[in-house]
């Protein structure tokens, strides 16, 4: 039997097969890398080589600064062009991993005399790193279930839509490198766990350090690994390898994490990291217990245990009490808002509107699972079952990984990204196991003439369709092959018993049909992924397109507006907009903004939200006190661009009202709804956002004022602006820029003319009233 020959010592023919298999695997991996890279180029081909969306523009700007000024200036960079007038210490508040990576890549390319622009390097960083991530997935899965599963998982990851959505060319965001770092850290952890090598443990700490540099999601690692360690200890799987895999990671990893300015003392002070320290203590206690158990006689050991437990309990209670007291003394219990909203999904919507307002922080819908991981959603359970047979340290880790990430992805749609690699690994294992069974069955029947005995052993199992049982038996072949010597010695008795069992053989017709169906399933996945990459996730969101009868229509309003700002305003002018557009304004228009996508100061954002929800005069005063010259609003009513400021307006009101209580949300609601039609409340119709969005809108369609996003006619059609003047509106009216009118040169008295008496009297009040912000 094929299986039995594999288990025996390597014969010359199997070495040859091994070698050719390795070469094949190498080329397959190479192709997977090419696939991962090239599937992400749709955005460049269909649009152009630009940075996408919002955050990538900030990262791009930071990278530009880094390449121009060097690492030390970057570290100490105080940016006076954002969060005016507070400024932002970029060096201390940014995860530098991505920037340093791209900066280094650019430097290296320069040294090789390849004169690529910084922008090009930034655009292609994400595709390059997704190839790396695919390879890291291969390594990780290989550690768990062997080469076959590894290759399958890698190819799945190379084109999983969820990951594509964050790593298309131009999507220059932290996640682009962080997913690679995440998978690679897990790989090194498993590698250390399997080998017990201190070398890999050190590498693991460094990979963890890279992850900490790259993304705030590193807390996932520093909580998942301790959980796995705890799981191993509880299930009696403690071994020196586990200790080596864990203890250096905590010590070195925490030390190195504290070196990243944005983390700093958080690495030892916030609750996100406490789990790792607690488990660190536990693993030492357990290690000590095992050590003592080894040198003491069983009876003595029992005595020692009772002694230690009684003393230890007291100490533990004291420590825990102190810890709880310390943690409870902080208002958020030591957890950051984002972490809390992970533990309690309703937390953000109750307390922190600024987190809840971000669409990627919302819980996902069911269709989004199918959209983002497609067939993997169905394969994951099979993979989990495959991991249970046999359950090793590595496979238990992967199971824990998928369970935790599945929960987190259910809380925040953004964390689907963490779930996707786990799903790929599981599906890779499942698919690989299935292929294994089917091809083996076919091979078996092809050689049936030679070996008739085995056929009879299989027949009773024929009626059992694909269940866990059969996968159970199949597993050990690939996994065993790749494990190092120590591992094999540990699991030798286990394996011995399993080799007794016969591998599952299915009827040839069933195998052939199942094989065909599985391949078809895979084909659907490929088709879906390519479609997702080409159509759904490649839009850069600063350039929009629409297909009409007349052909392709391009909406390039954002860049038009930013170019206008950079050419027509003074370099020190301040531009106010909702925070979404802050990064783009600083990066593309090079103008100072009041708030941006780094939402570190809620009060400042609330100030802008309040201004946007206030009547013109009050808004003018707020903006003037912040030295704002221009106000930028995004308006989609003309072309039907639905993520415009009117649709975001409820968050402006909510966030503004959270800090400044005179903004009351019910004032803007009619029957619990935000409306801008004739049913809208007067507060709504007088708010600055309404006025700036719909100013002169009625002129566009001959007096109707029909808003294509909201699908209604607007409530107030004809009005004039008193404190703002329109200076620029883009081609499709998507971005409108207004200038604050200067204070009037003269103050009018009462005029006799009835025509203007009303307006002039209000005006007098307007101006003479002392600006409360001064």
């Amino acid at each position: 039997m094929a299986a039995s020959t594999d288990t025996t010592a390597a014969t010359p023919s199997s070495t040859l097969r091994h070698a050719s298999g390795n070469i094949l695997a190498f080329f397959i991996l190479l192709l997977i890398g090419v696939l991962a890279f090239s599937i992400r180029l749709f955005s460049v081909i269909k649009y152009e080589s630009v940075i996408h969306e919002f955050d990538p523009y900030f990262n791009y700007r930071v990278t530009q600064f880094l390449t121009k000024s060097g690492v030390y200036d970057f570290w100490n960079w105080f940016d006076d062009r954002t969060w005016y007038p507070l400024g932002r210490v970029i060096g201390g508040t940014v995860y530098p991993g991505l920037t340093l990576t791209a900066g280094t890549m650019w430097k290296v390319l320069q040294m090789l005399n390849i004169p690529l622009s910084v922008e090009t390097v930034c655009v292609f960083t994400a595709p390059v790193f997704s190839a790396f991530a695919a390879w890291a997935t291969y390594l990780l899965t290989k550690e768990v279930k062997g080469i076959g599963a590894g290759l399958t998982a890698a190819v799945l990851l190379a084109m999983v839509p969820s990951y594509i959505s964050r790593s298309v060319a131009g999507s220059y965001d932290n996640e682009a490198v962080a997913i690679f770092a995440l998978i690679f850290t897990f790989y090194l952890y498993i590698k250390t766990l399997n080998t017990g090598s201190l070398f890999y443990a050190t590498l693991n700490s460094m990979a963890y350090f890279y992850m900490v540099c790259s993304w705030g999601g590193y807390t996932f690692i520093i909580n998942l690994i301790p959980m796995h360690v705890l799981l191993c200890i509880v299930t009696g799987r403690y071994s020196p390898r586990l200790y080596i895999a864990y203890a250096p990671l905590v010590v070195l990893g925490t030390l190195m994490a504290a070196l990243v300015p944005v983390v700093g003392f958080n690495a030892v002070m916030t609750s996100e990291h406490f789990a790792s320290f607690l488990v660190f203590i536990i693993i030492h206690v357990v290690a000590l217990a095992y050590y003592i158990k080894g040198i003491l006689s069983p009876k003595m050991f029992k005595v020692a245990v009772t002694l230690v437990v009684s003393v230890g309990l007291v100490v533990c209670c004291a420590v825990v009490a102190v810890l709880i007291a310390v943690v409870a003394s902080s208002p958020t219990k030591g957890w950051s808002g984002r972490s809390l909203s992970l533990l309690d999904p309703t937390y953000a919507s109750k307390y922190i509107p600024i987190i809840a307002s971000v669409s990627e922080h919302q819980p996902p819908t069911w269709p989004s699972y199918f959209m983002d991981i497609n067939i993997l959603a169905f394969l994951v359970p099979a993979g989990i079952i495959a991991c249970f047979s046999p359950l090793s340290d590595a496979s238990s880790f992967v199971i824990l990984y998928i369970v935790m990430s599945a929960y987190f992805s259910g809380v925040m749609v953004r964390l689907m990204l963490v779930f996707a690699p786990a799903a790929c690994i599981m599906s890779g294992i499942a698919l690989s196991e299935a292929f294994d069974v089917f091809t083996r069955s076919i091979k078996f029947y092809a050689f049936q003439a030679v070996d008739t005995v085995s056929a009879s052993t299989v027949s009773p199992q024929n009626n059992v369709v694909e269940t866990d049982k059969k996968e159970d038996v199949l597993k050990e072949r690939p996994s065993r092959k790749n494990k190092k010597k120590e591992k094999e010695t540990v699991e030798k008795p286990l394996k011995k018993s399993e080799t007794e069992k016969r591998p599952l053989i299915l009827p040839v017709e069933a195998s052939a049909i199942a094989l065909f169906l599985t391949v078809l399933l895979g084909a659907f996945y490929v088709v879906h992924s390519v479609w997702a990459a080409a159509e759904a996730y490649s839009a850069p969101s600063i350039v929009l397109t629409s297909h009409t009868r007349g052909g392709l229509h391009v909406f390039d309003d954002f860049r038009e507006a930013y170019a206008w700002l950079s050419h027509n305003t003074h370099v020190d002018d301040k531009v106010a907009s909702w925070w979404d557009y802050g990064y783009q304004t600083t990066a593309m228009a090079n103008r100072t903004v009041i708030v941006d996508n780094n939402t570190w100061n809620n009060t400042h954002i609330a100030t802008v939200g309040t201004a946007m929800s206030s009547p013109e005069k009050a808004a003018w005063e707020i903006f003037n006190s912040l030295d704002v010259k221009y106000v930028l609003v995004v308006f989609g009513g003309l072309v039907g661009y639905s993520s415009d400021d009117i649709n975001k307006f409820l968050w402006m009101v909510r966030i503004g009202g959270g800090v400044f209580p005179h903004i009351k949300e019910p004032d803007y609601l009619r029957d619990g709804q935000y409306r801008i039609d004739s049913q809208a409340t007067p507060t709504m119709l007088n708010s600055l956002m309404y006025k700036l969005s719909y100013f002169r809108f009625v002129e566009t369609d001959g007096g109707k004022g029909y808003d294509r996003v909201r699908g209604t006619e607007i409530g107030k059609k004809h009005f004039k602006l008193t404190h703002f003047e329109e200076v620029f509106t883009t081609h499709h009216w998507m971005v409108r820029i207004y200038k604050l009118k200067p204070q009037r040169n003269r103050i009018r008295g009462k005029t006799k003319k009835s025509r203007s008496s009303k307006t002039s009297s209000t005006k007098t009040r307007t101006i003479t009233k002392k600006n409360p912000w001064h």
């Binding site: 030390y72 020190d572 040169n745 008295g749 009462k750 007098t764 009233k769």
Partner: protein
Amino acid sequence: MAKISIATVFIASISLLLTLTHSFSTENPTDRRILVLLDDIALKSSHSIFFNSLQSRGFELDFKLSDDPKIALQRYGQYLYDGLILFSPTTERFGGSLDVAAVLDFVDSGKDLIVAADASASDLIRSIAAECGVDFDEDPSAVVIDHGSYAVSGTEGDHTLIAADDFVKSDVLLGSTKIEAPVLFKGIGHSLNPANSLVLKVLSASPSAYSANPKSKLSTPPSLSGSSISLVSVVQARNNARAVFSGSLDLFSNKFFKSPVQKAGSSNKYAKSGNEQFVTELSKWVFHERGHLKAVNVKHHRVGETDEPAIYRINDDLEYSVEIYEWSGSSWEPYVANDVQVQFYMMSPYVLKTMSTDKKGLYHASFKVPDVYGVFQFKVEYQRLGYTSLSLAKQIPVRPFRHNEYERFIPTAFPYYGASFSTMAAFFIFSFVYLYSK
């Protein structure tokens, strides 16, 4: 012929250019060319003392009848005049292209204005005044009557000739010489919105004054009464354009200038009214011969350095200096005051310091940057009665410490250094002993 006409146009434009260079500028703020609009050419002689005093001070006066169709304030977007005197209270419509909006644009571009109304003031004049914040009594027949402090004259009269002596106390507006004699006034009163910070009463009526039609019996309480009635007011717009509004055209007349005055109830009899001094001093102010400040040479640097840095660090010691000069009519003189303050401002002033002066125009302050980083501004907001307002703002970012600007070793932390190094040493020894002891 065509050539000649082109040549004349050319010469005319050259001469225009030459006159333009002489006109109002930031370096030479006094007005030069003034358009005087009269509704009666006789006013030119009846008010000649006032006009002559202006001409003797170097102003070019251009007299036009207010309905002259050729009146134009600007040509090719350039103003032809630096100042405008409207001695045409009865005019309902100006000739040429001039209207209320044009006059207000003239003011908004920083030019100056003198408006004299009268008992028969037209809506045109009233609306110009109202746009500047001066509300003449809406009753067209009302004039200011004061039975308490009228000017004593031969006939009893109806007490509409007032001897007013309630001046604003400001040297910069009315000169340093005190006006001894009361000012004769005959005309309409106006009121100011007390919340309006740009207008100022220069000559107020006495508490016993009221505004009513002297010929009819007073049936309802007068809308304006007491010292809230302003007789002459000045406006300084935000762009430092200045304007004078007077309810009386006769105030500027030769007759009033020379007339002796005795205020009712007072035994002091003056041979000459205060009108000439009052009007002359006020015209000096309105045409920027006085009270015009400029701030130049704003400098700031760290203590001990001379170059202006692009960014400060928290807790830096810095020096800020600015030079302030006042225009004397012919040259810039150092402005001396002890109340000029500089703010180091980020949403609110973090530092507010009175600057010391060397009496030669240089103001100077040195202070420590607060322990807060952000984008700050050096602000000087200097607003004093009668003076042009100075509003300087200079943006400067303040950064936190660099990573290597902190102290490397802190004495209080030596126990910790000792602890960590001794642990390291102990660990090394322990490993050595453990590994090689057998």
